[in-house]
Symmetry: D2
Amino acid sequence: MSSRIGRLLSVQIFGESHGSSVGVTIDGLPAGLRLDMERLNAFVQRRAARSALATARREADIPRIQSGLWEEITTGQPLTALFENGDTHSSDYSFLPDRPRPGHADYPAIMRSLGNDDLRGSGHHSGRLTLPYVFAGGVAMQLLESQGIRIAAHVYQLGNGEADCIDWVNPDMDALFACHSRAVPTVNAAIGERMQQDILRARQEQDSVGGIVECVAVGVPAGLGSPFFEGAESVMANYLFSIPAVKAVEFGAGQTAAFMRGSAYNDPYAMQDGKVVTTRNNAGGLLGGITNGMPIIARAAFRPTPSISQEQPTVSLQTGTDTTLAVHGRHDPCVVVRAVPVVESAVALALAELWLERRATYPLSKRLENL
Amino acid sequence: MSSRIGRLLSVQIFGESHGSSVGVTIDGLPAGLRLDMERLNAFVQRRAARSALATARREADIPRIQSGLWEEITTGQPLTALFENGDTHSSDYSFLPDRPRPGHADYPAIMRSLGNDDLRGSGHHSGRLTLPYVFAGGVAMQLLESQGIRIAAHVYQLGNGEADCIDWVNPDMDALFACHSRAVPTVNAAIGERMQQDILRARQEQDSVGGIVECVAVGVPAGLGSPFFEGAESVMANYLFSIPAVKAVEFGAGQTAAFMRGSAYNDPYAMQDGKVVTTRNNAGGLLGGITNGMPIIARAAFRPTPSISQEQPTVSLQTGTDTTLAVHGRHDPCVVVRAVPVVESAVALALAELWLERRATYPLSKRLENL
Amino acid sequence: MSSRIGRLLSVQIFGESHGSSVGVTIDGLPAGLRLDMERLNAFVQRRAARSALATARREADIPRIQSGLWEEITTGQPLTALFENGDTHSSDYSFLPDRPRPGHADYPAIMRSLGNDDLRGSGHHSGRLTLPYVFAGGVAMQLLESQGIRIAAHVYQLGNGEADCIDWVNPDMDALFACHSRAVPTVNAAIGERMQQDILRARQEQDSVGGIVECVAVGVPAGLGSPFFEGAESVMANYLFSIPAVKAVEFGAGQTAAFMRGSAYNDPYAMQDGKVVTTRNNAGGLLGGITNGMPIIARAAFRPTPSISQEQPTVSLQTGTDTTLAVHGRHDPCVVVRAVPVVESAVALALAELWLERRATYPLSKRLENL
Amino acid sequence: MSSRIGRLLSVQIFGESHGSSVGVTIDGLPAGLRLDMERLNAFVQRRAARSALATARREADIPRIQSGLWEEITTGQPLTALFENGDTHSSDYSFLPDRPRPGHADYPAIMRSLGNDDLRGSGHHSGRLTLPYVFAGGVAMQLLESQGIRIAAHVYQLGNGEADCIDWVNPDMDALFACHSRAVPTVNAAIGERMQQDILRARQEQDSVGGIVECVAVGVPAGLGSPFFEGAESVMANYLFSIPAVKAVEFGAGQTAAFMRGSAYNDPYAMQDGKVVTTRNNAGGLLGGITNGMPIIARAAFRPTPSISQEQPTVSLQTGTDTTLAVHGRHDPCVVVRAVPVVESAVALALAELWLERRATYPLSKRLENL
């Protein structure tokens, strides 16, 4: 069961790069949610290849709703959307299944299916599958917005490592939303421009770069999640690591926390306007698997795009000998820019799952009077 | 459903720090696995508090098997083990539920349960729950060993950030197993001794430190996992983030990958003794959610222990005012050393799940002759 | 999550009667299964409306495969099939949402969704959804056939209660397969003809009839299933009761068992050609949740079609007063004939799930030599 | 994963008849539910062996709560209860694993585990496991009672087939509760006495009888459940068929519906005190997988107890030859009486699951004004 997730909000993606369509079925969505289709389409479009920084592949990327929506309101039945595949060039993949691309899922996919997997255009492993992923994320985001939760991501680091730092305690959400129109979405425009140069330089050198996306969610109430296996970190990481190319996930201070003293790391509590807050947010809004009401800060690190036109060492599976491969065709020198709405989608789907779980298990009585 | 995981190998932990017992039920284990109880107990003991580096709490930590095992062989029925709680000091927690400890799950747990959660000794949120976790991990490890898979972790970084680096392509498993007898389990003994000094210094200064644990799994066949939501990275991260105090998870080169070029990051394929290998292992044995047959390299970063005897700012939930708290009682200045078998358990449980999934979905025919 | 099932073989159906399409995604199918598309289409066609006994609605009912199949072999990725909706008459349903049809899901569906559900043509509650159900069942059946398991159902009782009895110990599978070409598929042709008269008489009298379908599965190995919640009876009943209109499910002697003495009910064991068999099959191949290697005998009882053109008492939800309703339009006077392949599909999907679970948990060693 | 159920309310039972204990973990229970332990114990005791009609085995059957309850209020963490096994006679089972008892799970269990299953006292397959089942059911029942839902079952048919009929539209719940103190709990006392004679006669004749239990749930709101796989019938049947010895499950008119005309079967709607009701209840409160607000009527048919002291034909698995077996020891001649609270538990657990699912997916807005 490769491509389904969710105990309450089930998300099943399907499709291959060179098949008829890619799509998604969302099951478990409450009825009566009005979807703003214009905003949903705009969100999906943010993932599209549209600039010099991205692959030249062009497709409509327009969802064809099959079910679950009636006059733009959810019916409480499975919501299915399809995206037709148009512009495919199967011939670009003639090196498969013989010579697996280094850094790609080709070889493991061949071993997993004993050669039965359709790897043309990377098949089900293609970045094209993030299209239905983002559609589902956009739906989850509108569900969360109806509950006062807002989510936005930006490119945090890329190439030279310079960081687009934001305030974790009081993040400027408007600035985050505004930056999405930039070529590289950073709050600090100058940093984004330098990142863009890094990407273009990598392309020129027939190479690719990775980077880190940071996502913020505000308005999340305290008390979502659980200790242990359904902890909010676990749930979010599950969605984030399912994005192709993610190799590290962290929350708040993240890895840096490993090098801090407890006295510096622990976020002190304080009362603010009658509300419990923390005066810093190293925890990224998450303590022991449960939200504490502060902004959620999640970061996902992406490895550089594996497909590069340089010649790389590989093997011939047919002859069992060493050989080389130069991957031609259309590939992003950096997936990080297009990944920004995918990361937002991962966080939105995880929070929607946690929010529905909270709804199901909301306490039947209060033991402390002044909560 | 806070404390259950596993689509094929269901692991349900239960218990509170100051209740009768903590325990675990493992369901979905194949019948006919002979468990070496001596080794299982020794594994569980590795987690125990036993040195100057750990809390003074002492308990037997001896599993009482309730079911699922007959003459040390699994029956194919639910395997339940209990660990009785003995040595508890509830009075140490009189500050709860009024004054939540900074960095702890107290406040979110109170909000989650509206005050109904039993937080004495941190209740179900206690590190004591890693005891049944490790028991389950030890069982999973013996299952995997029967299939030729071996797992070992070590402390990778702690305090000053010096790294206990190992060979990711050909890890020396014997050295890893041997290091578990050290006070701080590092392959490079001198690094471990310096880490020990860091821990003792932190304790002296009424403070705590975090650190990073790295886990290696060898013998894992290529083809385990799936693209997207049940990807091997997603599954492993789910278990790793369920360990209390983990704030970052990464595989292979991990975050560093974000700052590398594709030409340097991609692991080249080569034939070695008729087998496909990669000549470096930046991917940590995982490509696009699927194992590639190389050693799996996973790292989990732990924040410093939240309980420190220094005074910290907090709030009184009863009066709604700012106040302070100094947490006395018995607490590790660093959980990282005791966390080593817990990280191994997380990886073992995740791989057992993936291995069972592979068993269920093993291809019915081969499309490529020479696989 | 209304429309998904399966821990190992996930089946997600979607679509509404008057939407663009209905469809299904099957996830968890092993790679390398060659699907005979001609036989699959023929199986799906058995459900179609084609005779005087069924609704006049005509549609292509041709699956459009979106993913998961490459040159007719499963890839190990999600398999999605769509069936376009063509011939719809929304105007027939103008009485909704005001006047719910007695015996239909209208009123509960309205209460469930607070009016948001699209009930035109019965929406997601329509019998049209058994089309993707049967597609999934046909795929499961081919998976099982590759393992030597064969499944066939027939109409057991209808109208006057006369039963089409078969041998439960040695069922004549060829006779069962052959009977599928009859107007009413019974092994005893004369009984089927009398059933057909019952149906036509009901239609003439503006009424409808129910009936019972019996399904047989042979070649199922002993040892599939579990005691308790994932018992083979539980799993099969879950799929069978998900077929619209099923109100009773039983195995082997079923309800009759309640009136038998143990000495008459217990199936005695005997050796036959070196194999353990039972000399009768009151248990229907299922003992305590686990298959015993004998033919599986399952029956599902269908209530009469709720839509009848007679005037029936109902209420107006708008005015809150009593009123009446006569349901015109195209409706089967009896769903039982078309339900035969749906029942086979339910049994096939359940057995595929159990077979995959068996594969995952197959014992690692044998304790008794001569098993 | 043999013994776990529940997408929202996870119930994991464990234990073997002759092991240390049997028990259950309930995960997903909302915090803040006050459990009346006295009533819970009384409910559990209803299942106990206490009369001439039942086995002579005596045990305390007192739950030892391990976790999840604090001062009798649920904490929102896993609730675990153990029941110690005391009075066991392993020697009674010396015929296993050689000579499987006809009608028992012995042979399938041996095939499932290849001989590794501990079958002493029937092991995990024992009726003793209904003890934790009933504990979980009692907890679910108190959850439902807090929402105005009440559940009661009675023996409907036994032996000669005479039925203890009740009013399905307006069931007399007080009469149902009151009948639980009778030796055979029927609303019509005379019928129960005749049933008792049937049981005693069967025992005298070294035989056993089956029977049917009917369960009623009132106060269930309309709108719980879903079409298809998570339909209320499917969910309830899953729990009911997991009770050992159940071979048939039906709702409302059940199988009889198969022989009715639509005009007689369809339950007409009517307004009553401003509420939509049906004037008969052939549907048993369930239409197309969703509750309609009427009483839920479920029946489970039990086969006669398999263990009888008469000699029965069986085989020797060791020698592969035909032989016989007379099962001595302590066995109920009829499990149906003790099964009454087990059936109530199945219905309670199913409704708790559906109620939590309803809470999670409750519509976000209303489309029809006067609902």
